[in-house]
């Protein structure tokens, strides 16, 4: 070893440590990619016996009967889609206009604390939304809001029938509260990314503040806002615990929003540990696979939509 000079030794050592370091860097990245791929592979493998047994009928049949080993996911797909749609309609409206106010109209002293509170709303654990929805919101909806809607709009089938506290309607509202921060946060970024010149030009033409918002800024931000809503929709589709606590957990399709329903995620949450047959477990994992694939697609779309707007802003 004496033949090596101090510098050579140092160089050799740093080359070795570099090699280990880069192995760590690439190893970690490879592991991460493997985990994401593994998610799909494991869920697919776990649901294979259900896929073989039911095929495409799994998605179109509305028979969910563990006793006879018949599994059709249609009621859960219906409950998931409808509760999420209620949520995104409400949260989209409140979130987009709220964000518009925070970015364009509010004085800074108002905007900052409001934005802070809305961001913290996103941090509240879903089990707490569920608890609050179950014990505080659902009784209020059942006693006041739902009878009111039935009295005023009872001619619509969606507001007819017996009023349950735990229902699609309650779940939709709890989900709306949960996804408002997502809509609001991204919409704020998207609105802020609309070029300043557009606003100035609009104001210079004599448009009022609201006209500038409605005719210049929001149209300019449409793609990004749509992306924000798609992302929030993805959150709502996969939300489990809060939905499970307030939706009533009944695998049936009813026209009325005041009836209990079921979602993909809440079936898994409720029945997985009680699933007795292998086919039952497999069917539940297939629901998970369905959720995984759908949310992958939804989030992919959302990212493409928001990135076209937000990426140039980030590169600055």
């Amino acid at each position: 070893m004496q033949s090596e000079s101090h510098e050579q030794l140092h160089l050799r050592r740093s080359r070795i440590s570099d090699r280990w370091f880069m192995a760590g860097v690439y190893g970690a990245t490879g592991l991460f990619v493997a985990i994401v791929a593994g998610l799909f592979v494991e869920l697919y493998a776990g649901s294979s016996s259900s896929i073989h047994a039911f095929g495409f009928k799994f998605l179109t049949s509305s028979h969910w009967n563990p006793v006879t080993n018949q599994f059709g996911a249609l009621p859960m797909i219906y409950g998931t889609v409808v509760s999420s749609l209620i949520a995104i309609v409400l949260a989209g409206f409140v979130g987009v206009f709220g964000a518009a106010y925070l970015v364009e109209f509010a004085p800074r002293a108002v905007a900052r604390p409001l934005a802070f509170l809305i961001e913290l709303l996103a941090a509240v654990p879903s089990v707490i939304f569920g608890l609050w929805g179950l014990f505080i919101l659902a009784p209020v909806l059942r006693a006041y809001v739902e009878p009111f809607l039935q009295a005023k709009f009872g001619f619509l089938p969606i507001f007819q029938g017996f009023i349950f506290g735990s229902s699609l309607f309650t779940a939709g509202i709890v989900l709306a509260i949960m996804i408002v921060p997502t809509v609001s946060a991204i919409t704020r970024d998207v609105i802020a990314a609309v070029a300043r010149e557009h606003r100035e030009a609009s104001m210079a033409l004599g448009a009022t503040r609201w006209e500038t918002m409605a005719r210049v800024i929001l149209p300019g931000a449409t793609t990004g806002i749509f992306g924000a809503c798609v992302l929030a929709l993805g959150r709502a589709l996969g939300e489990t615990i809060a939905t499970t606590m307030v939706i009533g957990n009944k695998p049936a399709i009813a026209a009325s929003l005041f009836q209990p329903a079921y979602t993909l995620a809440s079936v898994i949450a409720n029945e997985f540990t009680e699933a007795t047959s292998d086919l039952y477990v497999s069917a539940l994992i297939e629901l998970g696979l369905l959720l995984f694939v759908v949310s992958l697609a939804v989030n992919g779309i959302a990212r493409v939509l928001t990135w076209t707007v937000l990426r140039p802003a980030k590169a600055r």
Partner: protein
């Protein structure tokens, strides 16, 4: 046509009916959107208020120091769940931090081209995958083969849930370290390893810690994957290969039970959870703010 002073948009002059209508409509829009923002913000206060009122009323020292007891037996607590939360989240942090930070280093410093874009895309998309699907993954990987539930499998699910946030914040904060710092390190002839670990990563420390705190906050309240990984337990359990009680899961179980006594405990547990999550979130913000002041 000559312009008189009264026609210029300055000074006081009576508004036409049309202008009044436009200004009125504008005010409605501004106030209406302000109402939306206020509504969204007040929802947090509403929920916090209820949890605080109901939770504090149900809190007592035994709740923090005792393990669960049968319904109606006084002196029941969630101490095992609090400890369980620390164990499950702690192991998850130990699993997720190295993978997440190193992937972040890759994306910020070495990642070029299509593969890096794919990794970024996967990180973004993974953050939107429902936690229950990730719980199922942990189940098929870690519970099914061993035929019993374990805290470790819950940690695995939590680690996967934390990864996207850790990766993206690490990447962003490392990429934000000024190029001249990196070049300075290279000019001194320091190895890639040393310059990254001893110079660049420490400079990006605040951002990385912020991401970690937010990731911890996210999983501390997470419940869905626990149902079939940690499963829950009525007893003291410190061995991570066994089923374990976790606070968020206890809140869920107590809330959907038919017992008044357990409902009160659910509120008290929810209060503890929300305090922990809010402290984590606020401290994440403070870490980031301090960096900008320094």
């Amino acid at each position: 046509m000559t312009t008189t002073r009264s026609q210029l948009p300055f000074g006081r002059r009576p508004l036409t009916a049309h202008m009044r209508w436009r200004y009125g409509w504008s005010a409605v829009g501004v106030i209406g959107s302000g109402f939306c923002a206020g509504l969204a913000a007040s929802l947090l206060l509403l929920i916090l208020g209820y949890v605080a009122i109901q939770g504090v009323a149900a809190l007592n020292p035994a709740f923090l120091t005792h393990v669960p007891r049968p319904v109606g037996v006084p002196g029941a607590g969630v101490a095992n769940g609090i400890v369980g939360t620390f164990i499950v989240v702690g192991i998850a942090v130990a699993l997720a931090t190295p993978v997440g930070v190193f992937t972040g280093i890759y994306l910020a410093l070495f990642g070029r081209g299509r593969f890096a874009e794919t990794v970024r895309f996967l990180a973004d998309v993974l953050s939107g995958i429902p936690s229950i699907a990730i719980g199922l993954f942990a189940y098929t990987l870690f519970v099914q083969p061993f035929r019993h539930f374990s805290a470790l499998s819950a940690s695995l699910a939590f680690a996967i849930l934390m990864l996207p946030l850790i990766i993206r914040t690490a990447e962003e904060s490392i990429a934000r370290v000024p190029t001249r710092v990196r070049e300075g390190a290279l000019a001194l002839g320091i190895s890639t390893y040393s310059s990254t670990i001893h110079i660049i990563v420490p400079a990006a420390r605040a951002g990385i810690i912020t991401g970690l705190l937010l990731a911890i906050a996210r999983v501390t309240g997470e419940t869905a994957p626990l149902l079939f990984t940690a499963f829950g337990s009525q007893f003291w359990e410190l061995n991570p290969t066994n089923p374990m009680a976790v606070l968020a899961l206890q809140v869920f179980t107590y809330a959907i039970s038919p017992y008044e006594d357990w409902h009160r405990q659910a509120w008290a547990g929810a209060f503890l959870l929300i305090v922990a999550v809010l402290i984590l979130n606020v401290s994440a913000r403070l870490v980031l703010r301090n960096r900008f002041e320094a």
